[in-house]
């Protein structure tokens, strides 16, 4: 049995699954000041009689997302080695940023050593200011982590938390690496405290099964590892709902998922049944990161969007217009149109009629309402189309990839959230696709959390001329022979991923996908000197197999 819990903005939902079946469910209000208590209350209601039947607990929590929104991050001392390139001054990680000398180049070759004097001077200042969390990042550390390790070694005995860029992602993109490292460090204290509280709570309930948390990429990470990478638990809410859709509908091919709320609509896409990931990572508090995340596009369009009729068109959103008039508000919203047309059975129909008249006095209220909901569907459709275009337009770098790329043509639509049922007909018409509106979707988020499995991504970079290969995500840097091949690289990377997964407690390891292969001869003068081999592989987001 598995317990899945999804902590949302106002409610927290939990389910207990036996195989794929929900055998218990519970909803409680969320106390954001004491998340642990909220979770423990849910657990008490969901625990099986025999504790030993419980295989694991999986948790999607708003802890880190909220800490970021409420600006409750630790002050972080950032050590940044930028080397040649863009002026790094724009990197905004708070007041304690120290740019370090030293440089690595694009091949990971050391061009200039870092300075011991600089780093020690900065460390003393940070100690004096009471800073405890440190982030260490160099440009190109995904090619060569030695400078990050060198800096860590000089700081390790003076500070309690040190996050290093190369451990958080093997992807390129230096500013994102900096921001990811900064966030990760800033979340350390809060996450550790939460973990300690949870562990105590679980002990008090006599629970000793493994506990994982949901990540932004639709996968899970064990609580223990989460402590090293707390940033990965941001945006777990949207990923719970995507995984929920995956759990509820077996045969998702190319699907658009619309999560329609009061203020925003979140759009996600499945291609051949697999949710799409951001090319690099999530954007958090306006900063791009390398936190692997499902791709979601959020638009300011919802049931309570501020609505106006101007020059023959509706303007809906992006801001929230307060409660709908049918529920006692003062300005018209799409919800009023739904109420008037009998699609939503809440509030006052008369007030809803008044709202539509206010919007456009020249037509009947019913006509206005229908036109408004058409326009709502139109905007959702435009945003989804734009998102599909963007996915299609992601940069490619080879002739074959350019010639072979294909646009995703969705074959169905799933709409969830409060206004979803009311919008079903309009969405079906506008998208020209079947639109499914599942019932009782909040529970689906918890099911999604319960059914998610461990995900991992790692990349291998080998430069046979320099005779080294690296897998940054697990700090592997080892010698390699001149005759190293792509096949050997794939095997090496797969075994590294298996080791990482096993260390995180995953028993049965699902197939490893190779998601990128690049092999290229390096030439000096007119003769081949070696090969660069770059492979990226993942345990893709998906559902854990359930044993009946």
């Amino acid at each position: 049995m598995i317990i899945g819990i999804d902590v949302g903005g106002t409610h927290a939902d939990g389910v207990r699954l036996e195989g794929e079946d929900v055998v218990a469910k519970k909803k409680v209000d969320v106390d954001h000041n004491n998340l642990k208590e909220t979770i423990i209350t849910l657990l008490k209601a969901l625990l099986p009689e025999n504790r030993a039947d419980l295989q694991r607990i999986q948790l999607s929590t708003t802890l880190c997302t909220n800490a970021i929104i409420k600006n409750q991050l630790d002050d972080v001392g950032m050590f940044i080695q930028a080397g040649p390139g863009m002026n790094p001054e724009f990197l905004n990680c708070g007041r304690h940023t120290y740019f370090q000398s030293g440089a690595l180049d694009h091949r990971g070759q050391v061009q200039r050593a870092p300075s011991e004097k600089e780093i020690l001077a900065a460390a003393s200042t940070l100690r004096a200011e009471g800073i405890n969390s440190i982030g260490v990042v160099t440009k190109f550390s995904y090619r060569n982590n030695t400078h990050e390790l060198w800096m860590r070694d000089r700081l390790a005995d003076r500070f309690s938390h040190i996050s290093m860029g190369h451990r958080l992602s093997g992807m390129p993109n230096f500013p994102r690496r900096v921001y990811t490292t900064w966030l990760n460090s800033g979340l350390m204290t809060r996450f550790s405290a939460f973990k300690a509280a949870m562990e105590e709570g679980l002990r008090s309930l006599d629970i000793n099964c493994p506990c994982s948390i949901l990540k932004a990429d639709g996968g899970t990470i064990p609580f223990a590892s989460g402590c090293e990478f707390p940033c990965q638990s941001i945006h777990s809410g949207p990923s719970a709902s995507v995984m929920g859709a995956l759990a509820l509908y077996k045969d998702l091919k190319d699907t658009v998922l619309l999560d329609i709320g009061g203020t925003t609509t979140d759009i996600s896409i499945f291609a051949d049944g697999v949710p799409l990931l951001e090319p690099y990572g999530a954007t958090v508090a306006g900063r791009p990161t390398l936190i692997r995340a499902l791709q979601t596009r959020s638009i300011g369009l919802g049931g309570d969007s501020r609505t106006a009729w101007r020059n023959g068109t509706f303007i809906i959103g992006p801001e929230n217009g307060g409660p709908p008039m049918s529920l006692g508000g003062t300005s018209p919203t799409p919800t009023d149109a739904m109420v008037l047309l009998g699609q939503l059975h809440i509030g006052s129909v008369e007030k809803a009629r008044e709202a539509m008249r206010l919007l456009d006095p020249s037509r009947s209220a019913e006509e206005t309402a229908a036109a408004l909901l058409h326009c709502f569907a139109e905007k959702a459709h435009d945003a989804a189309t734009e998102m599909l275009d963007e996915v299609f337009q992601r940069p490619v770098f080879t002739v074959s990839a350019l010639l072979e790329r294909e646009k995703i043509q969705p074959n169905q639509l799933i709409a969830i959230g409060g206004p979803a049922a009311a919008m079903q007909g309009y969405l079906t018409k506008r998208f020209g696709l079947d639109c499914i509106v599942p019932q009782d979707y909040e529970v689906a988020n918890a099911i999604g959390a319960a059914r998610a499995r461990l995900t991992l991504q790692a990349s291998l970079y080998a430069d046979t001329k320099s005779g080294r290969l690296s897998i940054p995500e697990c700090s592997i840097s080892e010698p390699t022979g001149r005759n190293f091949t792509m096949m050997a690289a794939e095997t090496r990377l797969a075994s590294a991923i298996q080791t990482m997964a096993a260390n995180m407690g995953m028993g049965e390891i699902p197939p490893i996908d190779i998601i990128e292969r690049l092999e290229m001869n390096t030439v000096s003068g007119f003769s081949t000197t070696g090969k660069i081999i770059n492979v990226k592989a993942q345990l893709r987001p998906g559902l854990a197999n359930v044993k009946e």
Binding site: R287, T398, L403, N521, F526
Partner: protein, 434 residues
């Protein structure tokens, strides 16, 4: 993330699966480190910088510019259509107002490809800038265009294609042809009879450094541009003037390329050569992009950059100053030079072209049919590798009389089994073969 003052589109297409041959300078690896640097810098996230995939140029885009023997389809690979399509995509991004400026970082390059194409010359089969220029003229009605070629090798292909067009100002800065491929690009090659002074070659001595390029910019390029008043400025942005380039002998730098582009302020850049793929291209390309975007370039320095080691001699400076004043004079005298040809009906030029990649010669005769109203039409007769071509080419800016004359000549030329007879009509946008 920072937001660039100028919006810039990047068509970054390294074609990792295409090469001339595995150890050729034009090989898969060429833009690997450039791409790595650009991606690691996070340019995809910088506000106002947008990435575009290239599109495939169409055969008609190629035929608008080139006379391919036997045909474009036979001579070009997908990569060539993509590289030309990358330049076109950059232009569309600018003219469709998606961005203010654009840079096509694509390969293979094109500036050695001449109007007639029998094969690969100097790593180029088709001239991607020229294809872009005529695409722009066709689709956006732009007339006056300036192309500044800052590749270390003379842009002989681009010169050849626009040689007789007074609406295209072509300025090439390059290492002196006596010391480097393709061996041309001297001051006296200054434009055809209808466009004298509109081709300006600046042959620079080996080891020219930042100050030399600055001098050419200040004394020739910027004032001439100012006078010409183009609607569009294109930089053929080859980067092999770099001090680490393995096949040239110059001392230019990333800082220099960035400054040159900031001063030139081109609307569109198209990558040409540049074969120091590790030590130069990642930095020079980044410098050019940041300069176009109006962002700070002061940190874009090669790891071993030392301006004191790269100073040019006083003699070199004097030599370049002299070249600059001669070049200015040529442009200044352009109307006088044009007068000399006004009483002539035709001017005939012969040349022999060497296709270095596979190694064969083509003999070409070009007859300019002059006209006092327009640049006239051109007749091209060319042969090599047992293939022959006779073509009548109507430029986009020709008058009705010349258009009719060229079309008549084409119609009256009898079909022959061993000669490809072509009408290339840029006014009607027709390419006809018989």
């Amino acid at each position: 993330m920072p937001k660039a003052p100028n919006s810039v589109g990047l068509v970054l297409f390294p074609a990792f699966d295409w090469c001339i041959s595995p150890s050729h300078p034009e090989r898969e690896e060429r833009l690997l480190y450039t791409k790595d640097q650009i991606i690691e810098e996070g340019l995809e996230d910088v506000g106002n910088i947008r990435f575009f995939n290239p599109e495939l140029a169409l055969e008609e885009d190629v035929n608008r510019v080139h006379l391919c023997v036997p045909s474009a389809r036979r001579l070009l690979t997908d990569s060539h259509f993509i590289s030309a399509g990358g330049a076109i995509r950059a232009a569309r991004a600018v003219f469709d107002k998606e961005v203010e400026k654009a840079f096509a970082v694509v390969r293979p390059p094109g500036h050695h490809a001449m109007q007639t194409v029998f094969g690969d010359r100097g790593f180029c089969v088709v001239n991607i800038e020229a294809i872009m220029v005529e695409y722009i003229r066709r689709h956006y009605g732009i007339r006056k265009i300036a192309i500044i070629d800052t590749d270390c090798h003379h842009g002989d292909g681009t010169q050849d294609i626009f040689y007789n067009d007074p609406d295209t100002l072509f300025i090439s800065l390059h290492q002196d042809g006596r010391t480097l491929y393709p061996g041309s690009g001297f001051l006296h090659e200054s434009g055809g009879p209808s466009a004298p002074g509109y081709t300006i070659n600046i042959p620079l001595p080996p080891r020219t450094s930042e100050e030399g390029f600055d001098m050419v910019m200040d004394r020739v390029v910027l004032p001439v541009l100012d006078d010409f008043g183009p609607e569009l400025i294109i930089n053929s942005a080859g980067q092999d003037n770099h001090y680490t380039d393995p096949i040239t002998n110059m001392n230019f730098t990333a800082q220099g390329y960035a400054r040159l582009n900031r001063n030139l302020n081109p609307d569109i850049c198209v990558l040409e050569g540049g074969y120091s793929i590790e030590g130069a291209l990642p930095y020079t390309n980044l410098g050019i992009i940041l300069a176009m975007a109006g962002l700070d370039t002061s940190h874009v320095r090669e790891p071993d950059y030392d301006p004191d080691m790269l100073r040019q001699s006083a003699e070199t400076s004097r030599y370049i100053a002299d070249i600059c004043s001669q070049a200015r004079q040529l442009y200044h005298d352009r109307d006088i030079m044009r007068q000399q040809f006004l009483d002539r009906k035709t001017v005939v030029e012969n040349k022999q072209l060497f296709y270095d990649t596979t190694g064969f010669h083509v003999n070409e005769t070009r007859t300019y049919h002059l006209c006092p109203q327009c640049p006239g039409y051109t007749e091209v007769s060319s042969g090599g590798r047992n293939r022959h071509l006779q073509a009548f080419c109507i430029p986009f800016n020709s008058c009705r009389t010349c258009q009719t004359a060229a079309r008549d000549r084409f119609a009256r030329t009898p079909k022959a089994h061993d000669i490809m007879i072509v009408l290339q009509d840029r006014v009607a946008d027709i390419y006809e073969k018989k």
